[in-house]
Symmetry: C2
Subunit: 355 residues, 2 copies
DNA sequence: GAGGCGGATCGAATCGATTTGAGGAACGAG
DNA sequence: CTCGTTCCTCAAATCGATTCGATCCGCCTC
């Protein structure tokens, strides 16, 4: 017996019903090649009659050698990824820019499943023409290795530029430096920072950045941006994810002590928002008692009426840039690395250092 | 020339290199059928040698008649969908429960694109074995029609039970009734409600529910739940999406007037959180001056230290239920409609009516 | 009327695998 | 020594389309 005992009509059935050859019937649907108007209509009528809904994508894909699918590898938990507006908006932009190219987006969790395999089976065997690695992997990433082995062209986001993969990122290091300078100009010297995860371990607490293993480029670059401004943070607090509640926890820890910093720079707006909430809970005024800054440039309704001082990254452009990189890869060329600019946006959450 | 002038090795190449037939080589990879250990190793070695990374999924899919893909139709804008934690968590649960079935999740925006076609081209022609319609369509939905035409089994979320499609939802009507009774018991009589969108128009403002066109089942049911408790809301405010900022806008409008309601029931937690923020901005104490309730049972860090009174829906179970429905459809059976239970959770945002 | 030409149609090969039924080797039993 | 069994292996059909090159037909030109 065949694979599925389904009796859906095929192109051959339609061709037979219309009294033409399969090749002609194909032409009627694809429009690639000369075909008489009358013939075409006859074929379409026959299709209608048999309730044939168009060429089976599987057959088409095999013949074409293309699946029409871009696999998007969302690091770690999907839920967490979605709760970060940054991921969500990039994903949104990506879907938006891929749609017109007739490409679908396949979600790939990419978690190391507990059953032994270090790589998601979808990465190993799903049909896709291009892969996008959100939250850039390093050269050692087994996910990247699997994609390479399969020969699937890949775009890496926010990763290190590497051989053989396209990369799209933002100038977050420079942006962070600019932000830090702004804080310095306000007179602050006791500056703490709340960071994204350092690595897959996802710690939660104060760390010594000199000895703590730091695998994630994005965290490293944003940290380096602060150092570039000549600042040595009085405290570095690592969070397990860019979420408001983790920012709040960090804020309570940092601002609860008597020798608290006068300024806190967070590596994301969500974390910064959490710090703001913590400050309010502790009865501290922002920015009179403590200055707080973030990164990303999101619109966060719940720190209203305050407006976060932050570094704005062009999320929309990012989606577009990824789309372009994908298109280029699909054309068989190698896109050059893209680094999008960022801009400092001074809000109401930073002010002069308290006397 | 072939479809793509790629020279990746095929199973035939591997078979030749290993000195066996293609069928034997296939067996070596799939393990479906008897094969001598030695032969198997020889084939795998040959594959390694040629850097053959396993059977091409396209060929396998065509033969099997299965794409191994579930298309998830996300209504309207993807970005909006992601910003709603409810969608995100359901999607997460879905991916989680589909992974073990060896199914990938294909994101389908499903927006009516501006270029004339009422249905996303991906719905028309992407390869998928099952489709999931988030935010249930009605019988008239062209998306549903397209899926029917293609003969793709479909699961509809939060929709009307319909012929030929599986449905998964929650008892939101009953839950809303229970919530309303709780508010009634606290003595409130001037009760307003903030709703999800009524239809694709996505209005923003007060509406007369008796005359305003209401196409979306979820909004209808949650509204009906209030009426079931015998309450006639003093005001019905429609929002364009379940987002905090829209809740805030609604809250400012409802609570800003002198004859303001003493209780506001929102159709989602995000909306409720926005109303809480609005109340605080207006200098109203919650719950002393106004009681506020939501729906969904999310953990919302930013209404802290308050805890929303809400109706908890089992988001995790929902993902699981969808996964099961998909599996059932894939097996060729028709799953029965699932309605998951909800539970009232009384928090700190509702209290006795002010004297 | 022969030759040439362009457009429509068709046959056959091809994409890369899976699967079935047949064939063959090795081996033990009679 | 012959005749089953058992266990592997293989050839060939099949999944459903696309596409190349050939053919065919009608019509125009000389």
């Amino acid at each position: 017996m065949g694979p599925l005992s389904s009796n859906r009509p095929t192109l051959a059935d339609v061709a037979a019903a219309a009294g033409v050859s399969v090749s002609t019937a194909s032409l009627a649907f694809s429009g690639a090649g000369p075909i008489a108007q009358a013939t075409r209509e006859r074929v379409l009528a026959a299709a209608q009659e048999l309730s044939y809904s168009g060429p089976n994508p599987l057959g088409r894909q095999l013949r074409r050698g293309r699946a029409g699918i871009v696999g998007v590898v969302i690091g770690d938990a999907l839920r967490r990824a979605f709760r970060e507006p940054v991921s969500a908006q990039v994903l949104d932009g990506l879907v938006g820019s891929l749609g017109p190219l007739d490409l679908g987006v396949l979600l790939i969790p990419g978690t190391s499943d507990p059953s032994g395999n270090p790589v998601d089976p979808l990465i190993e065997s799903a049909a896709m023409d291009v892969a996008v690695l959100m939250w850039g992997g390093t050269d050692a990433d087994p996910k990247l290795a699997a994609l390479r082995r399969r020969g699937i062209p890949t775009v890496v986001l926010e990763g290190l530029p590497m051989d053989g993969v396209a990369s799209v990122g933002i100038a977050d290091r420079r942006g962070m430096t600019e932000l830090t300078r702004h804080v310095l100009e306000l007179g602050h010297t006791r500056i703490a920072t709340v960071t994204l995860p350092f690595n897959a371990e996802r710690g939660d607490g104060l760390v010594d950045p000199d000895t703590h293993p730091l695998d994630w480029e994005i965290t490293r670059r944003r940290l380096a941006g602060i150092l570039d401004a000549g600042v040595r943070p009085v405290a570095v607090y690592e969070t397990p994810a860019s979420l408001v509640e983790h920012g709040r926890t960090a804020g309570l820890a940092l601002l609860g002590s008597p020798d608290r910093p006068t300024a806190v720079i967070a590596q994301s707006d969500l974390l910064a928002a959490g710090v703001v909430l913590a400050a309010r809970e502790l009865g501290l005024r922002v920015p009179q008692d403590v200055s707080i800054a973030g990164f990303d440039g999101l619109e966060l309704p719940w720190v209203a009426p305050d407006v976060l001082t932050t570094v704005v990254q062009p999320l929309e452009d990012k989606g577009v840039a990824i789309g372009q990189a994908v298109a280029t890869l699909l054309a068989g060329e190698v896109p050059h690395a893209v680094e999008l600019p960022v801009a400092l946006r001074v809000g109401t959450t930073t002010g002069p250092v308290p006397a």
